[in-house]
Every structure is written in structure tokens, then in C-alpha cells.
């Protein structure tokens, strides 16, 4: 019952400010044109400043680039570690928005995504980053395409997007090659590039996300692609993303992370620790028992094929025989993401910087 309340409240809130926002942002944008030039630029155009707080700031994601690690987080922070997460050095970043994801296809080529519709690209292992996409450009591109297609509904939606300004984050990414990237985000944003960010193809049409729900997680296994999001929304493709079907799930709360196992297994986890598993590509779902009711925000499949999850209570959980078992006793700060390190231990990212969890602690 309480889930329903939550959902209703957030829907009302979201609609409320979305509507209002469109008008006010438009007014604001108009104002800004003839207003004074301020020294503080918008976060999407403002390079991140050097910080000594990097190891105690809100970090969101990390990835190996060859043998070194790159992590991203609040205020455009991009960090590099050459000692497997023991120490971190800040790298220059062209933006000050919160970065929500990072991934590398090899030691040189990688992307980071974040708020403001930002996609950053590096071709030198994370030393330099260039903006490949921002919310303003994105909205303009979508509008142009819509106008070319003469689809009234699409034009209307694209115009709204333009007037909103760059206020929509990308929330997860799927990197399939040095130039092939799929990003998903707030209000149903989903885009694909196959040329390293030069041109983008919208996936919004192929996903039946009529309410513009936030998309929190995208996963791929063989030809299966799964996108999980707000209010129990799950889109599922078995043809490598050409078409998507919406899966019925037994939960109306949000899914923040997902995993695809074997040939037909799907694991979903999210709000208040709710976790479900299906072994028939989403036809039937089983509830997974979880002793901790804190939201699960991240997961990975470790070298042994076990699903490891991290929750907001700062605890790692392991999926064993349809139940989640706490793997850590000590409470860490709320965890935002986890990554299996090459030595088998876990690098957790938290609202208070990176935390390395030794393999020993997992048992």
C-alpha cells in the first residue's frame, strides 16, 4: 500500500514541477539573453574546479581503463587511480554537473555521462575529456528531426524539451565499442550513437514509455537488452535493441539496477530493497527475500557468476538461492555504485568517496 502512496506523490510532484518548469525556464532563458553576463556559467559549461575533497565527495561510478581506474561524481569530478583505488587524482573535466556514469571500451576510449544531458568522451584514457553532447544540443537535434518528420506530437514534445533547458540527466550507459554507446536517462531519454557521439539516434520511439518515466539501468547479454526504471517500468528487447516490449513486473516502485543472467534470467532491484528474479525472460517473477529494506542502487556479476548488490544502508548483498545475504557487517556510507576489482575485491563508491572492500570482508 505504501508503495502506491509513494508513487502517487512523486507523480504529482513530478507533473507539478514539470509543467511549471517549462514556462519558467523559458522565461528565464529569455531573460538570460539580455541579462548581464555572469562569471558563474551554467554547470554544463563550467569546468570543474580543483578540489581536495575528492576522496570525500559524492561519487557515482567507476570503470577500468586498462589497468587504471576512472571514477566520476558530483560537480563534474573525474578521478584517476593508478594503484587500484588506493589513491585518487583529479583529472580536468569540462563540466561541473554531477556525472552519473563512466565506462571504457579499452584503455584509451571511454565515455562519461551526467546531468544536463552531458556525454563526455576521452580518447586518451581519461586525461582529457570533451563534451560530445549536452542537453541543449540534444533538444535542438530532436526538434530538427521532429520538424523534418512533420510529426506534430514529436514536434510538440521536442519543443517542450528545448524550453526545459538542460535539466535532464543521463542515468546509465551501455558501451558496446569505442564508438558505440547507448545512454538512458530521466523522462525516458534513450539515445544511441555509433560514431562516437557525432550523430545520435533516439530510442525514445521504440520504448513504450508513455509517461516519460526515468530510466535508471540498461544491461545487455547476447541479443537481450534490458532497460529498467521508475515505477516498475521495464523495457526488454531480444533483438539487440531493434524493438522493445514492456515487461509486466510485480512491483510499482522504481528499479535502480538490473542484471541479465544465463540465457533467460533477469534480476531487478530497487526501491526499499525490493528484488525480483525471472528465469523466463520476464514472464513470471519471484520475490527475492532481502533482510534490509534500504534501496538497492547498484549491482554487478562477479567472476563466479554471483550477483552482488549495494544498498543505501551501506551494505553489500550477495544473491544466493533466491535470497539476498549481507556480505559486509560494517555499515559504510550510503553506496552509489560498485565495481569488481581485478584482484576480486570490491570498489564501492559512496556519498563520501571511494571505499575498497577486501575480498575477506565479503565472506
Amino acid at each position: 500500500m505504501s508503495y502506491k502512496n509513494t508513487t502517487e506523490t512523486s507523480v504529482t510532484v513530478v507533473n507539478f514541477w514539470r509543467k511549471l518548469g517549462r514556462y519558467t525556464i523559458m522565461a528565464l532563458l529569455l531573460c538570460r539573453i539580455d541579462g548581464a553576463v555572469s562569471a558563474v556559467a551554467d554547470a554544463i559549461e563550467r569546468p570543474a574546479i580543483e578540489s581536495h575533497l575528492v576522496e570525500h565527495s559524492v561519487l557515482m561510478a567507476a570503470s577500468y581503463a586498462g589497468s587504471h581506474l576512472i571514477a566520476v561524481g558530483e560537480r563534474g569530478l573525474i578521478l584517476r587511480s593508478d594503484d587500484d583505488g588506493k589513491s585518487w587524482q583529479q583529472q580536468p573535466s569540462p563540466v561541473s554537473v554531477t556525472l552519473t556514469g563512466v565506462d571504457f571500451s579499452d584503455e584509451k576510449n571511454g565515455y562519461a555521462i551526467g546531468h544536463g544531458g552531458i556525454v563526455l568522451r576521452t580518447v586518451n584514457g581519461g586525461a582529457e575529456w570533451k563534451v560530445q553532447l549536452d542537453g541543449r544540443t540534444l533538444a535542438q537535434n530532436l526538434l530538427q528531426k521532429a520538424e523534418a518528420s512533420k510529426d506534430e506530437e514529436a514536434i510538440y514534445q521536442a519543443k517542450l524539451l528545448v524550453s526545459d533547458g538542460p535539466d535532464k540527466p543521463f542515468l546509465d550507459m551501455l558501451l558496446l565499442g569505442p564508438d558505440h554507446l547507448i545512454v538512458v536517462g530521466a523522462y525516458g531519454l534513450a539515445l544511441e550513437t555509433k560514431d562516437g557521439g557525432k550523430t545520435w539516434v533516439s530510442w525514445i520511439d521504440r520504448i513504450q514509455n508513455y509517461f516519460g518515466l526515468h530510466l535508471y539501468s540498461i544491461r545487455k547479454q547476447a541479443d537481450r537488452i534490458l532497460i529498467a526504471g521508475e515505477q516498475g517500468f521495464v523495457a526488454f528487447s531480444t533483438d539487440n535493441g531493434q524493438t522493445f516490449a514492456t515487461l509486466e513486473t510485480p512491483y510499482e516502485g522504481s528499479f535502480f539496477t538490473a542484471q541479465l543472467l544465463g540465457d533467460s534470467e533477469i534480476v531487478l532491484a530497487g526501491l526499499r530493497g525490493n528484488t525480483f528474479i525471472s528465469d523466463d525472460n520476464g514472464a513470471d517473477w519471484k520475490n527475492i527475500k532481502n533482510p534490509i529494506s534500504a534501496s538497492i542502487l547498484a549491482s554487478f556479476i562477479n567472476a563466479n557468476g554471483q550477483v552482488i548488490m549495494a544498498n543505501q544502508a551501506g551494505i553489500l548483498l550477495g544473491l544466493t538461492e533466491n535470497r539476498l545475504v549481507p556480505l559486509t557487517r560494517k555499515r559504510l556510507p550510503p553506496l552509489t555504485n560498485i565495481l569488481e576489482k581485478t584482484n576480486g575485491s570490491v570498489l564501492a563508491l559512496s556519498v563520501n568517496g571511494p571505499v575498497s572492500i577486501d575480498v575477506g570482508d565479503l565472506k
Partner: protein
């Protein structure tokens, strides 16, 4: 050549009471009336002095016209909890605050504090005040309630609930210690209580100590910090200060007696100096002033200056008596000889103190007034009343003969005291050059060191109190457990009415906040922008990926509407950015101030302005800026005033240079000493250099005025200087050493402020004395020549 007196009279001549200046005639021909008037004045002012109270005022320590303080005062009413406040940390004996017994005692204490007069009850905060709430970062969006659950009954369940509320209140590190073993009662103070009476710091401090004792007996551990407590502790320490004053007076008396071996005159000199203090303390309440802890040294300084002049008068009279004059005639001759020099010296002191009035900090202005009054009083008690009293009482016969023993042997240098012979060498070229080179090297070295002189506090806690004092231990406790609570700088952001949630403004604040957090000494920050980051994440089901300052106006409006009090004001035209600091060291503050100033320069628009500064650290920063400006301004003015007065006295620019250069060396060396002692320039230490110059000029005036008389009569520099040493030099040494020994005992004072001042003053007494005895003749060798006396326009200053 007769040496005993600048007048040509000899003891055998009949004294004509109608000679001398008009002032002398009026005073000495009506001696009894003068004595009676002074006695009446003493009775009146002595009675007034009993009404004198010691109190402090937070407002009086503010540089009222400084731009930051102006900003603060403009918006004071709109700001929440940034004024003068006390913090009481209440530590649970059980090691956790989630204990029914602890919470109960905390409630009782909180209630008692609430009822103290002068507490700003609306803004008072503790775990138990309804204003302490947890707010809205839940899945349901914005939610909240009082931290103490409404159905709190002390049961384990409600304690558990409390713990959960505390965790999401954002008060950990502010009201609740990070280790959750103690909580804070935050009590903002009004400058006046309900009846309009000024806050009585001593009484307040006492009431707090009462509460401390009461609750510590029940097992709680209490720590109290805040300006009020510093002042309370200082006032409480006044008794100790008084005992040290008394000790200094006793030491001075003994040394003067050791020098004169004359009970009568020693007693009279001390009596006159104490009389001056009584008058001064009587005049203060008559004019409506109270004695501030920062001015507590002024009475002693008045005494010290009084001793210096009194001893000169007594010495002059004693020597004249020793030469065979009648005590009345001796008193009049001495008055004739030294009144002008003494008057100039005292006027120089008074003006030197009075220039402190230009400093825009009320406590310093009041100190200036108190000191000027005291010095003015000395003109009556020590320059006029003392010689008149001595003309009645006379001096001991043996003592008088002892005092002139050098006179007789003056012609034979070999029989003069070795010290005189030594000092006289500085009138010769070789020694003069040596002394000047030495002085120059000292100046250069001291100057190099003095460039490191810092403005403001250099340590955590209150530098006026000792590091191991109860108060500073309490501060250490706060810093250890609350880190970011006591030193807060608030930046005010002014916007048009109702525009406080505009994206442009909040975006700037968001950027500024993150910049400030990179500065050393910044522990954390808070603002409406930061709240939007937290709340946005809460609105999105607590997902941290939404921890962002979103460029979306309606979102910002929505969050602003639900934001707690303090981040913006009720008419939505003022935002507050809180910067919590590790300490209030001068460097920490100036770093932040400079950064914000630069930021404001780039980002202020016609509508939106970033204004410094409120909060304890903001006020401290403003004070530091004022004090820094005042420091140079004050030095300039003090020296200007002293130079002008010396010029009037000496009628010679060269003589002014001779008198002032040694003083400047002392000033620079004091700055260097302050660096060595780790003392910063602040409201408490600001006046010390002015006082030092004021006292130092006395010595130079007494020695130089006699030397100049000799030079003008055509005597050689050496001879003139020797005569000055005989007449006034001895007493310069006596007072220099006496006062230095007197104040050096203060080093043992439990009040660090007094100990520091004792050290600085002792240093200045000694160096000013050495400067007057060594550098002065050396400079005179190059600048003042006997032929100067051939100048027909020059006047004999004793006339």
C-alpha cells in the same frame, strides 16, 4: 658654572614668592586652597568610584562603520542565529545521548536556560526546542517533524525513533556531536534583557557556572563557549588582576624607597599616583562609563605614568633641599624646572591615547577616553598637588643629602658613578656610531620579524585566556566533537523581493559554496543551493544520482517553499550562505574574505549582491580588517601627536628626531616580540603600542629637556647630558626598572591577556629607558650641538 638649578638662585638668597610663572604663583601662593580643593575632589570622586562597574559588551567590540559590519547590522533582523551566542555542550555520562535519564536532564537544563533573561528565546535551539526538526529527504518527498518524537515517552522504542530522526535532521555536527555522546544547547543572546538593561556579563557567567555545577553534580558534563563566557571569565579574573596590580604597586614602592631612603616622599609619590587612579575611576562612572575587561590595565598605566612623574618631582625637590633650599622654595624651583616638561609629557600621553578615538571600535574608544582622563588627572595630582604636598611635608634630611652627593663630585669624572661614565661615552663619536649601528641593526632585524605580525587570533579558542583554562578546554571539546559549529561565517546574498529562489542566483551560490569548500580551514557549508541537491535526491526516491543542483526554476521554487528557516528570509530577498570553519585564525578568515570579495566582484549584478559578512567568523574578519587599518593609522597618529608636542616643547626638529627615533625602535621591537610570542594584533592588543609610545616619550622629554637647556647655555653635549642624568636620568632609570619589575610579575597571572600585556609593557619600559639613555645621546651627538645655544631665539624652557 653652577649645576644644581637652572635658576641662578642660591640657598642664601631670600626667596621672592612673586617670582616664577603665573601658574606657579597662583598655585604656590594658595597652597592650602589647592590642598583643600583636592581633598574635596578626592572625597567626591572616591565616592563615585565605588559605583564603577566592570562589564563587557559584544556590540562594543564591533567596528560599527566597517562595511561588513554595516551589512551585518542592516540585515541583522533577517538573519537567524548569527549574533552573539553561547553554546552549552551537554555530555551524557552513559556515552550516548539516547538515554532517557540524560534526555530528561537535558530537558530540565534546556528549560532553565530558556528562562534566563536576555536569551533570544525564539532562536534558542536544543534537542528539546520545537524548532529542531528533521526535514524532508524521504521517499515521500518533503516531510518533517520535531526531532524529539511527538509521542516521546523515554521508552526504548521512542529512543530508537529519536535516533532515526537525529540521523535525518542534518544536525549531526551542529546540535548533536558526531559521536552522539553530547548535544548542544544553542542560546543566542540579546544585547538587552526584557527590562532594557544591558546584559551583565559577570552575572550571566555566574548564572551559567551555577547551572554547570548543578548539572555536573547530577552526572552530566558541561562545556560552555561564547563571547559572553570569555568576558565573564575575564571579569571573574579581575580579582586576580587586582592582586597583581597591588603587587606591582608594592614592588614600585619598595624600589622607590630603596632609591630615596625617605619614607615621607616615597609615600607621597605613591599616594599621589594612587590618588590619580581613584580620581580616574571616579570620573568614569560620573561620565556614564563602565570599565571594560579590555580597559582593565588602564588604571595601572595611569599609576605607572604617575610614578614616573611623581618620582621626578620628588627627586628634584630632594636635590634642591639637599643643596640647602627650604622645602617650599625647593618645591617651587622643581615645579619651575619640570612643570613644562612634565606637562608636555602628560599632554603627549593624553593626546597619544586620545588618537585611539579614531579607531572605530567602541571598546578601544572607551579605553582611549579612560586613559586620557587618567593622564589628565595626573597633571593635577602629580604635577601640582604632589609638589605642593612635598612643600609641606618636605623630605628626609639624610635622603636629601644622599641625593646630591654626585653634585659635589661632578667636576671629577673619576668619582662619578661608573654607570654615568659609561652612559656619557655615548655622547662621543666612536660610541655614538656604535650605538647607532647597533640600533640600526636591531631595527632592521626587528622590522624583518615584525613583517610576520598577524592580525587577529592565531590560535583556536580565546587568546585572552590561558590555553589550559576551563574556557579554552571547553573550546577544544567543541572543536573536537562539533568541528563545524562555533566558527561560522555567513555570506548574505541580497536579491529583489521574492526572487531568492532564482536559478541564476542559486547557481552562483552553488558554485561559490563548492569553491569555498576547497579553501583551507573550511569544514563545511550550507545554503539553499545545497539543500536543493539533497532534497532533489529525496524527491527522486532517495536516488543519489539525483544529487545535483538542477537548473529548473519550478523545482527550485518548490524546494524553496519547503526549506527550513535560516537559508532565506521571510520576504525572500535575502539568502544566507553559511561557511563553517575549523578555527577563526586570521589566515583562515582572510582567505575566505578575499575569495568571496573576488567572487562578488565577478558576480554581483544590480539586483543580486553577495555581501560579507555575518556570523562569529564574519564579524571577526571584519574586526581584523578594521584592526589592521587602525594599526597603521594609530601608529601614524600617535607619533604625529607626540612629534607635534615635542616640537612645541623643544622648538627644534632635530630634537624631535632625537626623542622619537628610539621610541620607534621600541615600537618595532614590540611588534617583533609579539610575533615571537605568537600574539596577533586584535582589539585587546591594539592599544598597547600607543600606550608604549605614551609612556616612552616621558623619559625622552625629561632627559632631553635638561640636556637642551645645557646646550643652549653653551655647555658641551657631554656635560649637558651628564647634568640631565643627574637631574632626571636617575629617576628615568628608577621608574623604568621599577615599572618593568612591577609588571613582569603579571606573567604569572591566570589571565593570559594580563600576562601578555605584562610582558609587552615590561619590555617597553626597559627598551624605552635604554633608548632614552643610550640612543638619545648618540643621536644627539650627530644632531644637537652646543652652538645651538648661540641661537638667540632659543629659549630656556624652564622660564
Amino acid at each position: 658654572m653652577k649645576h644644581h638649578s637652572s635658576t641662578s638662585a642660591s640657598p642664601e638668597d631670600k626667596f621672592d614668592p612673586n617670582t616664577g610663572s603665573i601658574i606657579e604663583r597662583v598655585l604656590f601662593n594658595n597652597r592650602l586652597i589647592v590642598i583643600i580643593v583636592c581633598a574635596l575632589l578626592t572625597a567626591l570622586l572616591g565616592w563615585q568610584a565605588t559605583k564603577l562597574t566592570i562589564n563587557a559588551s559584544f556590540e562594543k567590540t564591533l567596528p560599527t562603520h566597517q562595511a561588513y559590519i554595516q551589512n551585518y547590522l542592516t540585515y541583522e533582523k533577517e538573519l537567524t542565529g548569527l549574533g552573539n551566542a553561547l553554546r552549552i555542550a551537554v555530555v551524557s555520562p552513559k556515552g550516548t545521548i539516547y538515554d532517557a535519564e540524560y534526555l530528561d536532564l537535558l530537558r530540565q537544563l534546556s528549560d532553565e536556560v530558556f528562562l534566563l533573561s536576555g536569551v533570544d528565546r525564539v532562536q534558542m535551539k536544543s534537542l528539546w526546542t520545537p524548532s529542531t526538526r528533521w526535514i524532508g529527504v524521504t521517499e515521500e518527498g518533503l516531510d518533517g517533524g520535531p526531532v524529539i518524537p511527538e509521542d516521546y515517552d523515554g521508552s526504548p522504542a521512542s529512543l530508537q525513533k529519536l535516533k532515526a530522526n537525529v540521523a535525518r535532521s542534518g544536525q549531526i555536527g551542529q546540535l548533536i556531536a558526531a559521536d552522539e555522546e553530547s548535544t548542544i544547547i544553542y542560546m543566542p543572546l540579546l544585547s538587552e534583557d526584557a527590562t532594557g538593561e544591558a546584559l551583565d556579563y559577570a552575572k550571566y557567567s555566574e548564572a551559567l557556572e551555577g547551572l554547570r555545577t548543578k548539572y555536573q553534580e547530577q552526572g552530566l558534563e558541561i562545556h560552555i563557549t561564547g563571547f559572553t563566557k570569555v568576558m565573564g571569565d575575564l571579569i571573574e579574573g579581575v580579582q586576580a588582576v587586582l592582586w597583581f596590580f597591588a603587587l606591582a604597586v608594592v614592588i614600585a614602592t619598595i624600589m622607590v624607597f630603596w632609591y630615596t631612603r625617605c619614607v615621607r616622599s616615597t609615600f607621597l609619590v605613591v599616594f599621589a599616583s594612587i590618588l590619580a587612579v581613584v580620581w580616574q575611576l571616579g570620573i568614569l562612572p560620573t561620565l556614564g562609563y563602565v570599565l571594560d575587561p579590555y580597559s582593565i590595565l588602564v588604571p595601572f598605566l595611569v599609576f605607572a605614568i604617575g610614578m614616573s612623574h611623581g618620582a621626578q618631582k620628588m627627586n628634584g625637590i630632594m636635590q634642591d633641599v639637599g643643596r640647602g633650599f627650604d622645602k617650599l622654595v625647593a618645591a617651587r624651583f622643581t615645579f619651575r624646572r619640570l612643570f613644562m616638561a612634565g606637562l608636555t609629557a602628560l599632554l603627549a600621553d593624553a593626546v597619544g591615547f586620545a588618537v585611539l578615538l579614531v579607531i572605530d571600535i567602541k571598546v578601544i574608544q572607551e579605553l582611549a577616553i579612560a586613559a586620557s582622563i587618567g593622564v589628565a588627572v595626573l597633571i593635577f595630582t602629580n604635577l601640582i598637588l604632589l609638589p605642593i604636598m612635598l612643600s609641606y611635608v618636605g623630605v628626609g634630611k639624610k635622603a636629601a643629602q644622599r641625593s646630591v652627593v654626585n653634585d659635589i663630585n661632578e667636576d671629577s669624572a673619576k668619582k662619578m658613578p661608573a654607570l654615568w661614565v659609561f652612559l656619557d661615552k655615548f655622547t662621543q663619536r666612536k660610541w655614538a656610531i656604535g650605538a647607532l649601528i647597533g640600533g640600526f641593526l636591531l631595527t632592521v632585524g626587528a622590522f624583518a620579524l615584525s613583517t610576520q605580525l598577524k592580525i587577529g587570533d592565531l590560535d583556536q579558542g580565546a587568546p585572552e585566556l590561558r590555553q589550559d583554562s576551563r574556557y579554552n578546554q571547553d573550546v577544544a571539546f567543541m572543536n573536537q566533537h562539533y568541528g563545524a559549529s562555533s566558527d561560522v561565517m555567513a555570506i548574505m546574498v541580497k536579491t529583489p523581493d521574492g526572487q531568492c529562489s532564482q536559478y541564476d542566483t542559486l547557481n552562483k551560490i552553488d558554485a561559490l559554496e563548492w569553491q569555498l569548500r576547497q579553501l583551507p580551514g573550511v569544514e563545511s557549508t550550507n545554503s539553499l543551493s545545497l539543500l536543493t541537491r539533497r532534497v532533489l535526491s529525496g524527491l527522486n526516491e532517495g536516488n543519489p544520482k539525483w544529487y545535483e543542483f538542477l537548473p529548473n526554476q519550478s523545482m527550485l521554487n518548490y524546494i524553496t517553499a519547503g526549506a527550513p528557516r535560516g537559508l532565506y528570509n521571510s520576504s525572500c530577498n535575502l539568502l544566507t550562505v553559511y561557511v563553517y570553519l575549523q578555527d577563526h585564525k586570521a589566515d583562515t578568515l582572510s582567505n575566505i574574505v578575499n575569495h568571496v570579495e573576488a567572487f562578488a566582484k565577478d558576480n554581483n549584478t544590480d539586483d543580486v549582491q553577495f555581501l560579507l559578512a555575518a556570523g562569529s567568523a564574519g564579524i571577526q574578519a571584519a574586526t581584523n580588517i578594521s584592526v589592521k587599518a587602525a594599526w597603521y593609522q594609530m601608529l601614524f597618529l600617535v607619533y604625529g601627536a607626540v612629534a607635534l608636542l615635542s616640537l612645541i616643547t623643544f622648538r627644534s626638529f632635530k630634537a624631535v628626531i632625537v626623542a622619537l627615533l628610539p621610541l620607534m625602535l621600541t615600537s618595532i621591537m614590540v611588534e617583533a616580540l609579539m610575533v615571537q610570542l605568537g600574539m596577533g594584533v586584535k582589539v585587546a592588543t591594539l592599544p598597547v603600542i600607543a600606550l608604549g609610545v605614551g609612556i616612552g616619550i616621558d623619559y625622552a622629554l625629561y632627559i632631553l629637556s635638561i640636556t637642551l637647556v645645557g646646550l643652549r647655555q653653551g655647555t658641551s653635549l657631554s656635560e649637558s647630558y651628564l647634568r640631565a642624568l643627574n637631574f632626571t636620568g636617575k629617576v628615568v632609570m628608577l621608574t623604568g626598572v621599577t615599572l618593568a619589575v612591577g609588571v613582569i610579575t603579571w606573567v604569572a597571572s591566570p589571565i593570559k591577556f594580563q600576562a601578555d600585556m605584562g610582558l609587552l609593557l615590561a619590555f617597553m619600559f626597559i627598551w624605552n629607558m635604554l633608548g632614552a639613555l643610550i640612543l638619545l645621546p648618540a643621536l644627539a651627538h650627530f644632531l644637537l650641538k652646543p652652538k645651538y645655544a648661540n641661537d638667540q631665539k632659543s629659549q630656556d624652557i624652564s622660564e
